[in-house]
Amino acid sequence: MAATATAASVPAVALEGVGRAYGERVALRDVSFTLPPGATVAVLGANGAGKTTLLRILAGLLRPHAGRASVLGAELPREAWRARGRIGLLGHEPMLYRDLTVRENLRFHARLHGVPAARAEALTEQVGLAARADDPVRTLSRGMTQRAAICRAVLHSPELLLLDEPLANLDPGGALAVAPLIGRTAGPARVLISHAAEAGLAEADWVLGLRGGRQAIWAPAAQLRLADVRGLYA
């Protein structure tokens, strides 16, 4: 291992034999892959295959029960604090307080991450929420809420984006507006859960297929066709 490893050569994600169980139910078993910085991996699989569990482990919210996991060069769970603040998570929930306004929510997250409020304002404008910025989140439509959640996820300019169905509920205008923030050209490495397998394949450099918690597919997206991944959903 070269002593002069540069930041560019540290993989965004490196998993080796990672497993996680909930009591006796094994949610993930023996997952191993390496994601280079700036690359995108599409995580495909049926419901209950372990995709969300994987995402939460990468976010540092769940501790792996087996194997070794490192995110942005920090070994989980021992060094999880090193990666905190450099990862952006967009999960099922928007992670916004429903009774606070968009602006108040984003300012709160900005303060937590030590980011200037101006960035929150700029993002709000960019995704087209400027008109609704002072409305409580509970009054927004699902698409608007999703846009606000995306702002929250990228507010601190993370190096790794963990996205669970990022385009769900977004109209074409919204999808266009958020593309520079979370799309392929945005910059950070991305772990992307998508149920639309075709779109997932198109977006990604790599594909990770999970079935029953086990790793069924790990291959460059260019080498896979739709038929290859159908088996995951059988």
Binding site: A59, E93, D99, F108, H109, R111, L112, H113
Partner: protein, 224 residues
């Protein structure tokens, strides 16, 4: 750390002002209990240890309402996750929530204690005010510390509205004992009697022990 605590407090106070979930409920509940005590005890005026007991039991029950709601927004709206992923000291959440619960208690007492004086108290506690304030502050600190910890413990369980009072109330018995014993002479029928300062020492000891313990143990409640 102070920046994080400030941001968290600010967010909670914004939420409270917007949604009005805790303080008005705690206040209305206190006043209702005062009325209930009036009818239950069939007395119009209380003094001494009876008055102290009614006051502190009421404040404690109102505090339970506050404890129940303290972490609900975090739990139901993904607030824990958002906080856990931020590059901040995790104990800041504990400190912030203790300060928030303490300020809710103070806000409630600003109205509830005068209401108690008007509705149920026989003598006027005028000259005993400074001592009364000291007891209120120390007892509120203990309730805030234990309430925050048990609130965090209970919010992740299924029967959270039951578990929290069931665990917190026995834990707060020493606070009730000390606060009531300290307050009783201040509300005596013949005018305020000399003040037993050792109960303040008990309260301070309780606050210190549980404060330190809670500070040490809180992080373990946040992991998944």
């Amino acid at each position: 750390m102070t920046g994080t605590v400030a941001a968290l407090i600010r967010k909670d106070l914004q939420l409270e002002r917007r949604a009005f979930e805790s303080v008005p409920a705690m206040l209305m509940f206190s006043i209702s209990i005062f009325v209930l005590f009036h009818f239950g005890l069939d007395r119009g005026a209380l003094a001494g240890d009876l008055a102290a007991g009614v006051l502190w039991v009421t404040l404690l029950l109102a505090a339970v309402l506050g404890m129940n709601r303290l972490f609900v927004a975090e739990r139901d709206q993904g607030g824990f996750d958002g906080f856990l992923m931020a590059p901040v000291d995790r104990t800041a959440l504990f400190v912030a929530k203790v300060i928030v619960l303490f300020s809710f208690l103070v806000a409630v007492e600003l109205v509830a204690v005068p209401a108690f004086v008007v509705l149920l108290l026989d003598p006027s506690p005028g000259q005993a005010m400074p001592e009364l304030l000291a007891v209120l502050v120390l007892a509120d600190a203990g309730i805030a510390v234990v309430g925050t910890l048990i609130g965090a413990l209970g919010v992740q369980t299924r029967a959270r509205d039951l578990i929290i009072p069931l665990i917190a109330l026995p834990l707060l018995v020493p606070v009730v004992i000390a606060a009531a014993e300290a307050t009783a002479p201040l509300l005596a029928a013949q005018g305020a009697e000399p003040f037993p300062a050792r109960w303040l020492a008990v309260l301070a000891l309780y606050d210190a022990v549980f404060g330190l313990l809670a500070y040490a143990v809180f992080d373990f409640l946040l992991e998944e």
